[in-house]
Structures are given as structure tokens and as C-alpha cells.
Symmetry: C2
């Protein structure tokens, strides 16, 4: 397209309300505009990138056997009551009434609607498996939208839902999506990792998040230096340490110490002149109304998701003063496992500790030289803590490293949570009625675009990987008032269009510097510069945005060279 | 795709709540499912057709120089207050509050949002003209949704908005869209007419509706037998009749007649034994609070839009008893123009009447032998009535005929209605600030699909024109348990996929009759039947859905023949 006719309002200034790079660059490059809090319009340049992601997603979903549908954004209350989420979803679910005072919500996700479709139309195992997907607008009334389209309220999402007759089928469906997601993000030209994620109370070990690696990412992820293990921080497992032989002869005598005003690990550590690693922290939790003491080494933090999963509870929170008093007979800050009145579980970090410090279940007192087996027992040693860098890998024992990422996709084995609640049943081979097994699979389209920018930019602007570039080439005549220059530019432009290259001709009457700055800002992978001097030698300059590499090609060769370059970037394997 | 894997739930029964053919067939063919009143899900087959229409729309919009954007569906109250439509839009505008109690609506259209975008980013005439479009979901809270996706609440729409620096530019932008719309509906394989439509209080003579011709259409349209004139009924103009020479000697004496209980044309006509054509109806209107008498021949109906346009009023309604009494000194039913106390305008139908009957402005009395020029005068004779079949064409004098259509598109010259209210200004060449001139252009995507079905079906189901067909070909092995039959079917299937034909292989273990019925119902243009008998002769049967024509081709030729047939239907001109 001719730049002069494009609606492409670029800006030099960094918008004051944009915190992250992708947000700043998407506004400066004329890709998006904010309408109101968490709600954005896509301008032509931005929407071209969106459509490229959508097309890749569509092709890979179809290849994996999924079929595209389109479900409504306005959803009736009845279905959400059936699934139980009308009550549980919270304020992110935007609810309203129509002119007849009937209640609806704006769809934040579509498990209810699609399960309703499926249960009405699928009656027998012969119709299974099914995987239906859509690329559609969602609305989640985020309390604090931020980072542009990265965490907004209205956004485009690919959501897929699979229905299977049995567990084996459901695993196969999951695996297909896992492969499709890898293909999608590879084809988008992104550096990413699928990481294990917690699947919470829904159960099932299959849940992966697809993380685009970027220092600015909201999510912390862990990965093993040696093997392929990767997980998000909350899921990150820690390998069981080797059990050391503890010689009872090394146990010192239990000692009660007066520790006035020392409650926290820091205070106790300073007061008793011991390291935090020599203290065992005792946290009392309220798990569905019942108490439980969790022991962990003083320098570590409890990962409550792990506690919750181990206990199998729906709700978990730190106990209030009342429960602490009941369990320890003391106020908060002096809990310890010796003679405590509740079940006790301990993190692996406590397993090999001897002669440690804990609270004495008595105000202003701690015990020294506490030893497990003599002074108290624990129900189990398990993995209950937040992973730290250099922890040992749960798979191979290698060292765990940290990185940051942006979640762009999530594949999830739902099991029968929705199909059971909504009675999505079918007749099996043997004529028995069974409940379908579901999976759900999401990709944030706009977020994928933003994540791509977070991974591909420099001080001059965006650097699009070829597969997502809104245009592949920009032709920049240095001076549009020079006849020869414009003749050559127009001829290259026409040839490129003819062979299907997505190209901008910057026909604006602006200084070359201004045009170069805009080309860099909007991140077009290949810039063709047509200048009087090179042209006199029959040459055209080609600049690669990513490497800043400059090459000269004969005018007659330039289109062919560019075409080859593009094809190579789009199909690196070929 | 293999039929056995497709999510394509067809049905033989006509759904009880579907009134029109397209609605019935879209449900029976597994294209759509109702979620709730006026809200539908598209199943895979239906969505494929939607995407075909979208693609044609997109290509033609791009070719016309429009640029694709994507605007939010959730829109803030402030913009609608600026345009004044927050108050005026009525209950079709679905309003709600978010978690922070801020007010929003679900976008039924996007003039406000796009004008806000444009006014922020366009500053000078150098950035004009612009035409931005989107294909996006709209919500209009229809009081009584009906006819499936034809008149529903949530629907997909292509909406485009043009901004120009001057009237000449705006006309050019309009003309481009007019051409693009003709291309779009032609490419969709539809029989349609662009008809002149009323542009109401917004002014400007440029407004056209694109009507797909179908007997079941909601809209009445008129067209000239001889010339290209076509309009919707409310806009349909009527040519000025020739003025006859009226000889005053033929005027009979005015006569007051007692007409007890005769108010309506029928009653007066029966009582006085005259034809309705000999009576002049006098209607008193309240036009923005002022009265006006409209005269029309007794057998004709007033087209209030024409009255409104002539008077240039915002609101027009029939006068209440009070105003009638004030103007005529009599109750409703006896109004006449003789000595009436208000302005008087008359439809052309009254122009050549003499010695006619009117009300006498006195209860239970009418006048006979009334004559214009002697008994009263009129301000103007103009076109004020609803067109009737055989009226004279306003362009060529030919005869007007009626037809029914379904509105699938509307091109509209908006002028400065929104740009003025929202201050969308730019600096002109001479440094003067000016207001942009807008046009807007809509196409109902789902409605286009439904309209296509209303125009293309028979008792067996849908008959897709090739450009909108969800699949171009269906291969029907007569018996999947015959090895040779399946071998040939699979080989044809693979060859067709390889050359880009959109094809279904009906690999279901069903009787041939069942498969044929489904193929007819879902309307696939070409059916390939692979049966043992023909195959023994090396032949394959090809059936054209539209004509029911059967042909035999050698197995080796079948793919090539089908490909040629498809190409010809997609590019009939080539």
C-alpha cells in the first residue's frame, strides 16, 4: 500500500500511561488506540498482525482436526447457574439485563455455551471425539487492567474445547493440542517454552502454559539447566533430597529460651544468634475449617498451592488468632510442633535438620535443639515450598534456573467438571450412558502480538519476525521529487505486488530520515532504499531491520532477492 | 473433510419455532443453533459460509481502498452522550455498568467510536480521505427478534466509515462503496438490486439499500419495468402527472350534505354513492407542534416520510383531537380544505380532480362538488403518497412494479451529523479548520447468508451458489464396505484435496439414500457418487445439485472435470 494513503499515525513521544515496551510501541507505531480503561481499538497496522496470528492459529487448529465455530458473546444466566459459575466467577464476569429484564453476561470464556451445544447434538460415542474452536472476542472485567492489550478487559482469544468418550481419548486430544500449540508459536517466530502448570482443584495432571520468554514477563517460570523440565513458579516441583543418616548421639538437649518480643524469623535469628536456616518456621493453616501445621526451614517460603493440593482442600488460608490459640495455646508468633494440638506436615527442607529452633507454643518462648523423632513426629515430608534458583530438578536432579515469561496459551484437561454439572452424556458402545471428558485450550491473540514485541524490539522500535510482520517490505524513495528514483521505486513496488509480497511504498514527501525512523518504528523486516547515488550505479539498497545489515543489489535482481529472503524466513526448514 | 469426523448434526424435521425457509434450513442443515432469544451459535458448516462472505467483503473493501480495523464492542457512555444518541437511541441500545459502576453500551454501530479515533489522529487535509472498515459483532436489543439470523440481536456486520475533506470527495467515496457493494453481492452469486432509500433527516440524496430479491423478503421494493429505477417502498417516488386543463365551466355548485355517522372514506363513499377516487381525504398532521393539512385522493395512502421530508420537520404525527378541533372547528372525520385554518399541501393525485367530495369542517357534514381554485387553494402539489403498482416511474414515465427483497447492505451519506457533534475537524489547504464529511456503509454478514438461502433452495434443502458453498464437492461412496468403491473414493478425495478443492468424503456407514438426502439438505453444489456398477465400467457419476443433472465421467477424468466446473462457477466471466 502507499504510505500516503495509509491510516498509520505514528508518534515519537512515549505515551505517559504506557508502562511496558509493547504497550508503548503499539501506540507509537499506530497499531492500537485506547478507547477506555482496558478497551482498545486496533488500527490497520495492528489488525494486520492480529490477522496473521489468527491465520496461523486457524491453520494449525484445522490441521489438528479441530473445527471452527462461532459462539455468542452474550450468554444467558441459566447456563452459568447450571455450571455453578454464576455465583463463583466473581466480579470479572460482567452481568447485565436486557430490555425484558432477563439476565445475561458477556462471555469471559465459553465452557457453558459449548457444552450446551454439544449435549444437545451429541448422543452417541460414534460422534466422539470432537474438538470445536473459535476465535472470538471475550470480556473480563479486570479490576485493574494494565500493560495495553497484554492485560485488558476486551480481547480476542482462540478457545477450543474437546469432548472425548474416555480418558485415553482425552489424553490423545490433549496431546494433539499440545503439538498444535508448539507448531503455532514456532510458526509465529517466537522463543517460548511450554511449562507445567497447576491444574488446581479440577484435578488431572495435564496442564501446560505456553510462555513467551521475555524479561518483562509477568510470570516467573523455572526450568532445569540439564533436562527439559519447565514449570511456572507456583507449580515448580522440588526434588526430594537425600535422607541423611541422623545420629541420635548428635541430638542436644531440648532447651526453652525466653525470647521477649521475638516473633519473626529475623527477630528470633538475631536474638538467638542463629541463622534462619537453623530455625523451623511453623505456620498454622485453616484448611476447609480444620487446622494443620506446616513446617518449613526459616529461609524458605510455603507454596500454598502445594499445601492445598496435598491436603485436597477447597479453601486454604492462614489461621486466625482463635485457631492459633486453640492449636498452640499461645498467641501468633510462637508456634512450634512440640506438643502442638493438630496434624503436622513438613517440607523437605526440614527433613535433614537437627538441633533446630522452633516456637515453644508459649508467649515469648522458643525451643532450641529441637529434634524430630524425639520431640515430635510429622505426618509426612513433602514438597511444600516455593522453588528457588539452584534447587534440584524434580526430574533429573540438575539445577533449577529462573526466567520470566508471558503466558500466551494454556492447554488444560478439564475432566468432567462441566460435562457432569451440565449432564453432557452419550451412549457408549455397550449402550451405557456416560459423561464426556473435556479439555479446553486457549490462546490470547492480542497478547501473543504484544509478547512478540516484548521479545523483538530495540531502541528504534519493533522488529517483527517475518511471519507476524504487518508488511514484509517497505520501499523508501530517498526523495520523491527525483523522477528516476520514483520511476525505479514504482517499478519495484509493482513487481513486488505482482509476486504477492506485502509491501509499503513510502511515497510521502518527507525527509529520508523521517521515513527511516518510521520504517524502524513500525518494524518492517526489509527496507528497500532507492537513492539517486546507488541508482546511478544500477543498484538498490536492502536493509535488514533485525541485524541492521546493508546490502546492494542490482535493480533487476532486487525483487527476486527479496522474495527469496522472505520465503526463507517463512519456511526456515525448507 | 471426512463426514464421520465432522460436527454436522442434520435433522429431517422442520423446527417448530422457525417461520422462514432460511431459518428452518440453517437449523436442519446443522449451520446454526439458538442459544437464547435472537442469539445464535454458528456450527462449523454455518461458519464456513460466514467466512466465505467475509472474505469476499474483505477483498472488495481492500480493493476499494478501505482499510480494516477492529473496534471494541463495549463502548463508554461519554461518546454516546457527545453524539446525543445515549438519549435518542432507545431500548435497542443495551446499556450496563461495569464493576466500578461506569456506564457502557454494547455497540449496535460504531459512528461514535470511529469518529473519536479519527478526530484524535487526523489533523490535516493531507490525511484525507480515509475509509476504515471492520467485520465485527454488533448487538441490538430488538424487541422481537425473529427469522433466525435474519433479524437477531447479536450479529456480524461489516461496517465502514469514510471521512472526506469536501462534498466532492464524499461523493467519490460513496461511489466507490456503491461499486464495491455491487461487486460483493455479484461475487456472492446473488440476484440483487441496489434501491434508492430515504436518508431521512440527515439529508443528502445519497442512500441506497442493497436488496436480495426473495418472495419471503421483509421489505417491499419498487422498480421500473422500463428503466433502471428502483427504490424501497417508503422512498419510491411517483412522477408528476400531466396537468390537465380544467374548464371552470365544468365546475358544479358547492353543496353541503348531511352525512350522519359517515367518517371514513368507505362510509362516505357508500353513503354518497361515489367512488373513493372522487373523494379527497384531508389528514391533519402535527409537524413539530405546528399543524398542516395533507390532501390525497381517497383511494391512496399518505407516505409520511415524504411529508416529513417536504416539511423538513424532525417529528411528524397525526394531530390529536385538540389540534383537529382548532384547525377544523369540528371533531375528527370531517376535515376538509374549504375554510380550513392551517397550511394545505396536496398530493399529485388531487391535482386533476374536479367536483370532488371532502369533509365540511362540521360534524356529520361533507361538501360535494368541491373545486380547487374556487373553494380553496393549496400551497403546492407534490409527491406525498405511497407508491402503488403501475404508478408512473419518476425517471422515465414507465410502469412501476412491486417486488420483495431482503436488505443485506446499506450505503449512506452521513454528511456532518457525527463529525459536527463530535468536532471531527481538520486543517484545510488554506489553514482553515473544517468539519469532515462522513459516509457509512454496512453489510449484514449472517443476513447475507440467510438471504442467499431464501433465494436458493428447493424441497430437498439448500442449493448453494459455488462462491458461498461451505464445501464445493461431496463424494458419496454408495457402500463403504465395498473395497473397490472405497479405494476409488479415497483416491478421488486425495486428488481433490491436493488440488485445493473443498471436499467432503461421506465415509459414514449409512444407506446411500440417507447420504443423498444429507448432501441435498446441506446443499453441496457437486455430488460425486461412487458405486459398484458404474465403477465396473470405469465411470463415476457427477450430479449438479442445482439442476439435478447427472453426468458420467471416466474415473481418471473426474477430478479435472470437477475442477473446471468449480473454476467456471467462481469466475463466470473468465
Amino acid at each position: 500500500m502507499r504510505y500516503s494513503e495509509m491510516h498509520l499515525p505514528t508518534a515519537r513521544e512515549i505515551p505517559s500511561d504506557a508502562e511496558v515496551t509493547s504497550h508503548q510501541l503499539m501506540i507509537r507505531a499506530g497499531m492500537i488506540r485506547k478507547l477506555t480503561s482496558g478497551i482498545y481499538s486496533y488500527l490497520p497496522l495492528g489488525y494486520r498482525v492480529i490477522r496473521k496470528v489468527e491465520q496461523i492459529v486457524r491453520e494449525e487448529m484445522n490441521r489438528a482436526g479441530a473445527q471452527e465455530v462461532h459462539l455468542p458473546m452474550v450468554q444467558p444466566v441459566e447456563l452459568w447457574q447450571e455450571s455453578g459459575r454464576w455465583i463463583h466467577y466473581g466480579k470479572e464476569l460482567l452481568r447485565f439485563r436486557d430490555r425484558h429484564e432477563r439476565e445475561y453476561c458477556l462471555g469471559p470464556t465459553h465452557e457453558e455455551v459449548i457444552t450446551d451445544l454439544i449435549r444437545n447434538d451429541i448422543k452417541t460415542y460414534r460422534q466422539l471425539p470432537r474438538n470445536l474452536y473459535q476465535i472470538q472476542t471475550k470480556f473480563r472485567d479486570e479490576v485493574r487492567p494494565r500493560f495495553g492489550v497484554m492485560r485488558c478487559r476486551e480481547f480476542g482469544m482462540k478457545d477450543a474445547y474437546s469432548y472425548d468418550a474416555d480418558e485415553a481419548g482425552a489424553e490423545k486430544s490433549y496431546e494433539k493440542m499440545f503439538v498444535a500449540y508448539n507448531n503455532i508459536f514456532n510458526r509465529c517466530g517466537l522463543k517460548f517454552r511450554p511449562v507445567e502448570a497447576d491444574s488446581g482443584s479440577i484435578g488431572g495432571k495435564y496442564s501446560h502454559e505456553f510462555m513467551v520468554m521475555a524479561d518483562s514477563g509477568e510470570d516467573a517460570i523455572v526450568f532445569c539447566e540439564k533436562c527439559a523440565y519447565a514449570a511456572n513458579l507456583e507449580k515448580a516441583e522440588i526434588g526430594e533430597p537425600e535422607k541423611k543418616n541422623i545420629a541420635e548421639k548428635d541430638w542436644l538437649s531440648l532447651e526453652s529460651v525466653h525470647t521477649p518480643d521475638a516473633c519473626t524469623i529475623e527477630e528470633v535469628s538475631a536474638f538467638l544468634k542463629v541463622k534462619p536456616q537453623d530455625i523451623v518456621k511453623t505456620l498454622i493453616y485453616n484448611a476447609d475449617g480444620k487446622s494443620c501445621a506446616v513446617l518449613i526451614r526459616g529461609d524458605q517460603d510455603v507454596n500454598e498451592i502445594k499445601v492445598k493440593n496435598y491436603l485436597g482442600t477447597a479453601e486454604l488460608e492462614l489461621a486466625d488468632e482463635g485457631m492459633i490459640l486453640k492449636v498452640t495455646d499461645a498467641p501468633r508468633g510462637f508456634a512450634g510442633a512440640v506438643k502442638i494440638n493438630t496434624r503436622v506436615i513438613a517440607d523437605y527442607s526440614v527433613m535433614n535438620m537437627i538441633n533446630f529452633v522452633t516456637g515453644a507454643n508459649k508467649q515469648d518462648y522458643h525451643f532450641k535443639n529441637v529434634n524430630i523423632g524425639r520431640d515430635f513426629n510429622v505426618e509426612a515430608f513433602i514438597d511444600l515450598r516455593v522453588a528457588q534458583e539452584n534447587d534440584s530438578c524434580p526430574r533429573c536432579g540438575g539445577k533449577i534456573k529462573f526466567a520470566r515469561g508471558i503466558e500466551v496459551g494454556h492447554v488444560f484437561k478439564l475432566g468432567t467438571k462441566y460435562s457432569k454439572a451440565m449432564k453432557a452424556a452419550f451412549l457408549d458402545k455397550d449402550g451405557q450412558e456416560k459423561i464426556m471428558i473435556m479439555g479446553c485450550y486457549g490462546i490470547g491473540i492480542g497478547r501473543t502480538v504484544a509478547a512478540c514485541i516484548e521479545q523483538n524490539f530495540d531502541e528504534n522500535g519493533i522488529i517483527w519476525p517475518m511471519p507476524l510482520a504487518p508488511y514484509q517490505v517497505i520501499i523508501t524513495p530517498v526523495n520523491i521529487n527525483e523522477e528516476e528514483v520514483m520511476k525505479a521505486s514504482e517499478s519495484i513496488y509493482a513487481s513486488m505486488l505482482a509476486c504477492g509480497i506485502e509491501v509499503i511504498l513510502d511515497d510521502r514527501d518527507e525527509r529520508a530520515g523521517v521515513k527511516f525512523k518510521d520504517a524502524d518504528l513500525i518494524g518492517i523486516p526489509i527496507r528497500i532504499t532507492v537513492g539517486q547515488k546507488n541508482l546511478a550505479q544500477g543498484n538498490i539498497e536492502l536493509k535488514i531491520r533485525k541485524t541492521a545489515e546493508n546490502r546492494l543489489y542490482p535493480l533487476q535482481k532486487i525483487v527476486e532477492e527479496v522474495k527469496a529472503l522472505i520465503d526463507q524466513e517463512l519456511n526456515p526448514a525448507a
